[in-house]
């Protein structure tokens, strides 16, 4: 991870993150993220091969509840918060796109 971050990588990451960035935002992000990755180089030399990763601090695993119906949010109230809804459903523009 020593190579300096490039614009192309940031463009790809922005697409993955669904962020529509301008070219000047891409430039700035490339510079700032590059600086941060340089700071992160302090862990490069650590030998962590024998250490198990720790995802979260608790000893709790697989918390289940009984499979019984419980009260849930009111559908109309939830849909009222949506930018657009129709017939009890969220409304979105075409998923497959308008090209081709």
């Amino acid at each position: 991870m020593s190579d300096r971050l490039t614009n192309d990588v940031v463009v790809k990451v922005a697409q993955l993150a669904r962020l529509d960035l301008t070219s000047s935002e891409i430039e700035r992000a490339t510079e700032q993220l590059g600086d941060m990755l340089a700071h992160f180089a302090d862990i490069d030399s650590l030998d962590l091969s024998s250490i198990e990763p720790m995802n979260q601090p608790l000893p709790i695993v697989n918390v289940m509840r009984d499979d019984v119906v419980q009260p849930s949010l009111d559908r109309d109230e939830v849909l009222a918060a949506a930018p657009q809804s129709e017939d009890g459903r969220f409304w979105v523009p075409p998923i497959l796109g308008t090209e081709g």
Binding site: L19, D20, H39, N55, P57, L73, V92, P94, T98
Partner: protein
């Protein structure tokens, strides 16, 4: 500091009928009216709802019943805690105007304990920042000096207590977002053990690090507030099922015979005034019968790197939900992908975008092992190092913030300089252990210094015990009043 009523005093007065909750509320709302235009602690003041709640508390007392341990206590809530029918913005344009269809568990518990919610407080957008300068609705100003930041991300909640708007407020702490603003505003701020307080209804930033906690004037008030909000919640699967101890039990016991750990390999970076007060805190505890022991926490120094990989990684996943479909902002576009990208570009501020990009990068193919995988291993090292330290010491003492409150704009040009504010607070989030900041005298320009008390998981009673001793011994020379 001005002499404000504490939550304990208000609750005792209201429960005994000597104080009316409606009068207490009106006093606090008047203070908000007089000064919040300047401070901007609040995104939204819930005056009407608060008046109804206060009247209900008084009616309960009049009927001979007990409204609960926080009877009539005005409380401010960070604006990332869901409140049914009340705007909850996370200080982001992407959630502007959204009103949640449910209350978070902490909100419900406070309501049931007789507390009166008076408003939603400003924060760095989605709790990402250390100064509230990242709020989409403008920064909060430090009530002690309005040219200075209040810290962050829970800057509005810290400022609300420091300004006398409410004797109690709640924030969330993912890397120091309660403890650092508490230090900068001269109030008490507690991050409990991860899982001790339900996160149901807390808008997620980094789910394995986030924890809700209180801001108060006194350690006793913090204990009172924790007693109300701590405990198991079936709505949060990361909630700890262990019984809740009496958090006030040890406050008056002193520190005779306790072992207070000094971390000899603590990362440098604390300003001289802060370092000096921290040294005096050790001295004060030693003078009261504690033993100071040197401990090593070698992984401490890698905390910043591990945190700024793990927290953005989790955030990049959590914030994927803001896509213009179910709530909040939508920017119209011909297809869904274009709609998502345009909505998120318009709705998120610079720091949030930066962290989403960083987190997405750290999780993406080819970089996962080098960054995210490695950060998770450092997290394990950190937990192991602290476990060893806690074999030798009951609690550890460090500065809460490397500096006292700083002027607006001084750290915004270089994001990493802002990240350094979290140097001493981050490890407790990575390990899930509790930590708190308690005011301990003043530093440069007579601004408050916060000392951080760190303790093992679920050892809040001992942490509060030591904090209470520091509170009793806080230096008064060089203070503002």
């Amino acid at each position: 500091m001005a002499d404000f009523s504490t939550a304990s005093e208000i609750a005792a007065g209201v429960r005994s009928g000597q104080l009316k909750a409606v009068d207490v509320l009106e006093q606090h709302l008047a203070t908000v009216d007089a000064r919040d235009a300047e401070i901007h602690a609040f995104n939204h003041v819930m005056a009407d709802e608060a008046r109804q709640q206060a009247a209900a508390v008084d009616a309960t007392v009049a009927a001979g019943d007990d409204p609960g341990p926080l009877a009539g206590v005005p409380v401010a809530l960070k604006d990332n805690m869901c409140t049914r029918g009340i705007p909850t913005t996370c200080s982001s344009k992407i959630l502007e105007g959204w009103t949640p269809p449910y209350d978070g568990t902490v909100v419900t518990r406070l309501h049931e304990s007789g507390a009166v919610a008076i408003g939603k407080t400003n924060l760095d957008e989605f709790a990402m920042g250390s100064s509230t300068e990242n709020s989409a609705f403008g920064p909060t100003r430090n009530p002690l000096d309005t040219n200075l930041v209040p810290g962050g991300s829970s800057g509005g909640s810290a400022a609300a207590v420091a300004a006398g708007f409410s004797p109690l407020s709640f924030g969330s702490d993912t890397g120091g977002s309660i403890r650092q603003p508490a230090a900068l505003c001269g109030v008490v701020g507690v991050k409990p053990t991860y899982g001790r307080v339900s996160r149901y209804g807390l808008v997620a930033f980094a789910s394995s690090l986030d924890q809700i906690g209180p801001f108060t004037h006194t350690v006793a008030d913090a204990a009172l507030a924790l007693q109300v909000v701590c405990g198991h919640d079936p709505m949060d699967s990361t909630s700890i099922p262990d019984p809740v101890p009496d958090y006030s039990a040890l406050l008056d016991r002193g520190v005779e015979g306790m072992r207070i750990g000094r971390i000899t390999d603590l990362p440098a970076g604390a300003d001289p005034d802060v370092a000096e007060r921290t040294e005096q805190a050790f001295d004060a505890l030693a003078a009261n019968g504690a033993t100071i022991v040197d401990v090593e926490v070698p992984a401490f120094t890698y905390g910043l790197t591990a945190y700024y990989i793990i927290a953005p990684a989790e955030a990049s996943s959590n914030l994927a939900r803001y896509d213009g479909v179910r709530y909040g902002l939508r920017v119209d576009a011909p297809d869904t992908n274009a709609m998502y990208s345009a909505t998120r570009a318009a709705g998120f501020g610079d720091e949030v975008k930066r962290r989403i990009l960083l987190g997405t990068y750290a999780l993406s193919a080819g970089y996962y092992d080098a960054y995210y995988g490695k950060a998770l291993k450092i997290r394990r090292l950190m937990a192991q190092d602290f476990a060893k330290a806690y074999e030798q010491a009951d609690v550890l003492l460090t500065p809460a913030s490397p500096s006292v409150a700083f002027p607006f704009g001084t750290k915004t040009a270089d994001p990493f300089s802002m990240y350094l504010c979290d140097t001493y607070t981050i490890p407790a989030n990575l390990t899930g252990e509790p930590g708190m900041s308690v005011p301990f005298g003043t530093g440069q320009d007579d601004l408050p210094v916060g000392v951080q008390v760190l303790a093992p998981a679920l050892a809040e009673p001992v942490m509060l015990q030591v904090a209470a001793e520091l509170e009793r011994n806080a230096p008064t020379e060089g203070g503002r009043s």
